[in-house]
């Protein structure tokens, strides 16, 4: 694997994980707020 391919993979890792974890934690925030409006 050359340097460019490694860079591509790094970008893919950041993009995929940021999207998936971002959606997951946004869902967590919304669900938590739904059952406890004060956020506690």
């Amino acid at each position: 694997m050359n340097g460019f391919q490694m860079f591509q993979m790094l970008l893919a890792i950041i993009a995929v994980n940021a999207c998936v974890l971002g959606v997951a934690f946004f869902a967590l925030y919304q669900l938590n707020k739904a059952v406890s409006p004060s956020g506690r």
Binding site: M1, M9, V16, V20, L28, L31, V35
Partner: protein, 466 residues
């Protein structure tokens, strides 16, 4: 798609799964209904037992018609067909007796609106006997000759256990959704919260079973194509796989919406109409997709259900093969593998915290405090089902056939997930105040949960090394 059967065999295949799998699902409601003394659930189940008994009529006639057609087929052994007929008849008689007993119990309950305990227990006993006879009658092996294949080519042949397990598992979400939707509609009409919870739990369980169903389906594909079987078309299999992928998404949406509503119910003590409508919408659409998936699955190995005007798929390309070639590229495989590891962290972290409280650590916390965390673990499960499916597609033969650690991993996931479902819905645990000890049964479930998820991680890590 031609869902309306045009041959006795097709009708028999469609109708006969409902009494057997239907009994399992009705019993899944009936037993908790008896334990919780929920009159609505008990009466609904008695009606359903009677309706299942009515299905014995088309099951019998379509079976007879199929026998007449298939008796000339040299590939189907006569003794096997006769054994299926004899045990099938015994099962149908037991089913009719169960239905009659259920009807009598229902009518005798009359104005009191309550059936006697003896009558309810008799129905339960009869239903279990009928179910046992149906298991013995097992008609799958009549046409699925690959299940008895003894030809073994080292490093090529896939065990016939995989297709056999797939044949059993794929009926759980399909038939299960029919019964869950029926119960859900009755629950909504009768406004019975116990039935609503039961239906939502069944949606979640069916969705959980969807995961091993999908995986065993991939293994079954290898069993049918490597070494190749002359009558089996890879293009037909791929058409089935594409629809199975949509089914997995449908199950994911329905299961997730159902679980979130069960989780949310704990905090408000009532269901949201919007959420329940959403669950119903997802469930109906998913059932439609599953019907088409099942039909395409039937076309793989059932030449007797094909009609002359039907054109079978011939193009081997499809969505699944496109995903396979994309995700097998390391640049896309590794990011999803990392998502999978993050998912495990969320699941195991949540499971450990909840299990510790149930086992007696951190008693200063109420169970309700750790219940809030369950949503984090559930999101981890969703992440891992999606990423795991992508990773498996990248190199399915190596995972499902070549690796001995994959089968136990797939078996432990539904055990761990279903046990976690218990934490989500248990009333006794929810009412656990700070300082109080959890019931012994809950501690056993906690131990199972911890061991199951630890096993999933160990088996997952051992992939490639066994």
């Amino acid at each position: 798609m031609h869902l309306i059967p045009q041959s006795w065999s097709h009708l028999h295949m469609l109708v006969s799964v409902f009494p057997s799998f239907g009994l399992v699902f009705v019993l899944c409601f009936y037993i908790p209904g008896m334990l919780t003394d929920n009159n609505g659930i008990k009466r609904t189940c008695l009606v359903l037992f009677a309706m299942l008994a009515l299905l014995s009529v088309p099951t019998y006639f379509s079976g007879n018609g199929s026998m007449a057609v298939l008796s000339g087929n040299p590939k189907i052994p006569k003794d096997m067909m006769n054994a299926h007929y004899s045990w099938g008849m015994a099962a149908l008689v037991a089913l009719i007796v169960t239905g009659v007993a259920a009807l009598v119990a229902l009518l005798r309950s009359g104005r009191a609106d309550r059936a006697s305990n003896i009558a309810l227990r008799s129905v339960l006993g009869l239903a279990i006997v009928a179910l046992g006879l149906m298991i013995v009658a097992d008609g799958w092996e009549l046409v699925h000759r690959e299940l008895q294949s003894t030809t073994v080519i080292p490093d090529v042949t896939t065990s016939p256990v995989w297709p056999h397990v797939h044949l059993i598992l794929n009926h759980v979400p399909t038939v299960g959704f029919v019964f869950a939707i029926v119960f859900f509609i009755i629950a909504l009409v009768a406004n019975n919260d116990g039935m609503k919870r039961g239906s939502l739990i069944l949606f979640v369980i069916c969705s959980i079973i969807g995961v091993p169903t999908y995986v065993t389906g991939t293994a079954a594909m290898w069993a049918l194509t490597q070494p190749p079987i002359p009558e089996i078309s890879k293009a037909v299999i791929n058409a089935h796989r594409d629809m199975a992928l949509w089914t997995l998404f449908g199950l994911g949406f329905t299961g997730a919406a159902s679980w979130f509503e069960l989780w949310r119910y704990r905090y408000f003590g009532r269901f949201s109409k919007l959420s329940l409508t959403l669950v119903m919408l997802f469930a109906v659409v998913t059932l439609g997709i599953m019907a088409e998936t099942g039909h395409r699955g039937g076309q793989i190995n059932h030449p007797e259900i094909r009609v002359a005007t039907e054109i079978l798929p011939t193009d081997p390309a499809g969505i699944t093969t496109a995903i396979e070639s994309l995700i097998s590229n390391m640049i896309w495989f590794v990011p999803w593998q990392i998502v999978h590891f993050f998912g495990y962290c969320l699941i195991f972290g949540t499971v450990t915290a909840v299990v510790m409280r149930v086992l007696g650590f951190w008693k200063s916390l109420s169970f309700a405090a750790v219940h809030r965390l369950l949503v984090l673990g559930f999101l981890g499960v969703l992440m891992n089902v999606f990423s795991g499916m992508l990773m498996m597609l990248a190199d399915s033969y190596r995972y499902v056939v070549g690796d001995v650690g994959f089968a136990p991993k797939m078996a432990l996931i539904p055990i761990g997930a279903t046990a976690v479902l218990y934490f989500s819905v248990s009333d006794r645990l929810w009412n656990l105040k700070p300082g109080e000890d959890a019931p012994m049964a809950a501690k056993w479930v906690a131990a199972v949960v911890l061991l199951a998820w630890a096993g999933v991680i160990v088996c997952g890590r051992l992939l490639n090394y066994l």
